[in-house]
Symmetry: C2
Subunit: 149 residues, 2 copies
DNA sequence: TCCTATTTAGTAATAATTACTATTTACCAT
DNA sequence: ATGGTAAATAGTAATTATTACTAAATAGGA
C-alpha cells in the first residue's frame, strides 16, 4: 500500500525536509518491494531511472524516510554482530535511544502458536521477540527534554 | 549460568574441534557478560589475559561456539541494513539457510501483553517477532540432503 | 614424545557505512 | 516568475566490520 506522490511530498514538507525526485524514487522502490531491500538493492533499482544517483543519497533518504515515519529499518542491530551464550528461551528489550539490549524472561511469550498457513510456509525452529522502547535511563532523559521546551 | 571448563571441553571435543585456552576464555567472557557483546567487546576483554589474541580468533571462536550450540548470534541480519516501507503491524519469517525474510501478518501476535515488571523497566513502543526456520525451498533441499547419506 | 591437522596471529583484502566538499536544487520571499 | 539561500546531491575519500590468506604454534591422538 504505497503512499501517493502528494502524500509523500506532504510528509516531507511537514517535517521541514525538501521533497526531491530522488527521495520519491527511493521511497517507491522500497514500498514496491517485498524483499526488505538493502541500501545496495535500492541503489541498483533506482539508478536505472536516476543514473547519477549516489549511495550517499540512498543512505540519506532512508534516514529521512525513517524520520518522517514512512519507513523503518528492520535490522535494528545491523551495525555489528552481537552474541549471547544464554541458550535458555528468552526475548529482548531494545532501547531505541541508547541501543542497549536487555534480556526478558517471560514463559508466556516462549510458546506462541503460529497460524496453520504460516506453518505450511515455514518449518519453524524457534522465535524471538524484540520489544522496542526506551530504557529507564533514556525514559527519564526524554521526559526532561520534553518539559524543557 | 556458565558451563564449567570440563563441560566446554567436552562440547568441543564431541564435535571434533580442539579445545584451546583462547576458546575457553572467549566463552567465559561471553557467558559472563549481560551486554550481548560484539566481537570487538570480547576481543578487548579477553586481550587482557591473552595479549597476543587476534580478532580472527574471536571471529573463529564465535563460529565454533555457535556450531556446537553453546552460543548464538542475536543480530541475525547484521551483515547489511534492511528496510521496510510497510508500517502496518507485522512480523517476520527468517530463513536460516537462505536468509530470506518474509512478512507474516497475524493479528493475534500484534497484541502481546508484557508483564508488569517489564513495563516498569521499559516504555515499550512496539514489538516485532522473528520466527526462525526454513522456507519451503530450503526445507526441501535439507530433506534431500538428509536422505542422500 | 612425536606427528599432523587444526588453530592462532598477523597482515592484507573486501564490503558496508560514514565523512567531506563542491555543485546543484527546492522552495520561500520578493 | 525570479532570485537567494539553506538543504540535498554526487562524487570521492576515510573509516569500520568482516573475510581471506599464510606462516608459526599447538592440541591431542599414535
Amino acid at each position: 500500500m504505497q503512499l501517493t506522490l502528494e502524500q509523500v511530498r506532504k510528509q516531507f514538507q511537514e517535517c521541514g525536509l525538501k521533497f526531491t525526485s530522488q527521495r520519491y524514487a527511493i521511497y517507491r522502490a522500497l514500498a514496491g518491494s517485498k524483499e526488505h531491500p538493502s541500501v545496495e538493492d535500492l541503489y541498483s533499482t533506482v539508478k536505472k531511472a536516476h543514473p547519477t544517483l549516489s549511495m550517499n543519497t540512498v543512505y540519506n533518504t532512508l534516514e529521512s524516510l525513517q524520520a518522517i515515519g514512512i519507513a523503518s529499518e528492520i535490522s535494528l542491530w545491523h551495525d555489528k554482530a552481537r552474541f549471547d551464550a544464554n541458550q535458555a528461551p528468552h526475548h529482548h528489550l531494545v532501547c531505541l535511544r541508547c541501543k542497549k539490549i536487555e534480556d526478558l524472561y517471560d514463559d508466556t511469550l516462549d510458546s506462541l502458536a503460529l497460524s496453520p498457513k504460516a506453518k505450511q510456509r515455514y518449518r519453524i525452529i524457534g522465535h524471538r521477540i524484540e520489544f522496542h522502547g526506551y530504557c529507564s535511563d533514556c525514559k527519564a532523559k526524554i521526559n526532561k527534554h520534553k518539559k524543557r521546551r
